[in-house]
Every structure is written in C-alpha cells, then in structure tokens.
Symmetry: C2
Subunit: 108 residues, 2 copies
Amino acid sequence: MSISDLVKIFKALSDETRLKLLALLENGELCVCKIVSILKMSQPKVSFHLNILKDAGLVKMRKEGTRIFYSLDDSDLFKRFLILSIIEKIKDKAFSSNFNQEGGVIWK
Amino acid sequence: MSISDLVKIFKALSDETRLKLLALLENGELCVCKIVSILKMSQPKVSFHLNILKDAGLVKMRKEGTRIFYSLDDSDLFKRFLILSIIEKIKDKAFSSNFNQEGGVIWK
DNA sequence: AAAAAATATAAAAATTTTTTGATATATTTT
DNA sequence: AAAATATATCAAAAAATTTTTATATTTTTT
C-alpha cells in the first residue's frame, strides 16, 4: 500500500456523508435507490460519494437487473479495522435505530 | 467522539504532507525549523499542516524559548492505532533512512 | 417498441482546502 | 536597544472537492 493509496483511503473517510454511508451498510448490501430514500439525498450525490468509497476500496458493488447493490469491502485487514472503528464510533450517535415516518434515518 | 471529530481526524490524515509529518515525528519531537529543513518546505506551509494535525489531536506542541517542538499525541487509543498504522505503512517507502547531503529526506 | 425505473456521468456553480508571499509576534543574542 | 531567529497569522491566489441540474445508458415492464 503506497502513500497515495493511504491518502486516498483517508480522503474517502474525511466526509460526513461517506461515513454515514459506511455505517448504513453495516448490516449488508443496499441498492442506491434505497440509500437515496433513507438518507434523503439526491441520487447523483449518493452515486458520487459511493464512487469515492469504491475507488478507495472501501465498498464494492454488485449489479442485479437495473439495480446496483453496494456493500462494505473489508477484505483488507486495515480497511476492515477502519470501517469497524467508524461504525462503532458513530452508530449510536448517527442512528440509534431511529427512523422517521418515511423510513428516513434520524441522525443526531 | 462525534462524527465531526472523526471527520476532522480523517481530514487531517488525508494529505500526503501531513502523513509525512507524522512519520517524521516517529522518533520523537522536532522543532518547526528542523522539520522545514528536512522536508524542504516553506515554513508557513509546515506550520499550516502542523496546525491541522494539532487541531485533530494527532500531535501536540511544547514551547521552549523561541522554538516550538511538535510530537505525536497518541494518548487516545484509536489515534495511536492510526498513527502506528500510518508509520508502519509508509516508513519504508517514505524514508528508508535515506537523507541527502543537506540532511533532507529522500522520499520514494 | 415504447415507457418506466435505476443509476451513472458530465458540465457548471459553489464551497473548501492548500499554497504563497508578506507581515506580525515573541524570544534570544549581540 | 537593536538585530537575529523561530514561528504564527493573514490575505490573496490557486487548486481541489462537492453540489446541483441535466442528460445518457441500461434493464425491465407494459
């Protein structure tokens, strides 16, 4: 892993939206449309951020029909540690299992 | 540790100069002037990046006369792990104990 | 074959970060 | 007290990132 690989990973993690995306994927894959509806963000914005996470090797994707499912990619030990740390640190604050009427997450 | 604290830490780590600064401090404190002479960067630039690392709680400083010495701040376990991982991953590539005639580090 | 659905991509605008050059501040030395 | 040294800060410029709006592509459904 080169310095620029490291920088790319940290850059990917240095954005609140992307940390939320990682936390959202904790329990398994989700398609973009589901993520959009949960986070109430524009679809291009979600795709943009997912792409940065993918480039950094933090998530992977799987195509099924017209949908694309994203999931955590923790095949690398260091990345796995990072992802787990992040989820552990923001899960409670970010989610606390609170969803609003429309199924949107309530972030604290 | 809030989400924005986490983002701040990762933002601080998402820059090559700052990763090099952390690696440079591996073996103990250095004053700004020494860092400037080793890295061959402008003093305001070095101060700027050190300040970002300090704001994120990754380094601490100590004043002595006209000099200011910076050192790693790994009092927090998560930060310590991050710093150690970074040093372990870039040390060989970045340093390999190579210094040029003027005492400047040769980065690979 | 047309329409609909899901997603990516691209261009422009907005925002943030980084670099640079100049200057200010504080401490030590002469 | 003046000069020198080390460092921070500030403002402007440059560069990079993010957001937004529009559009293209692919697959499924009708």
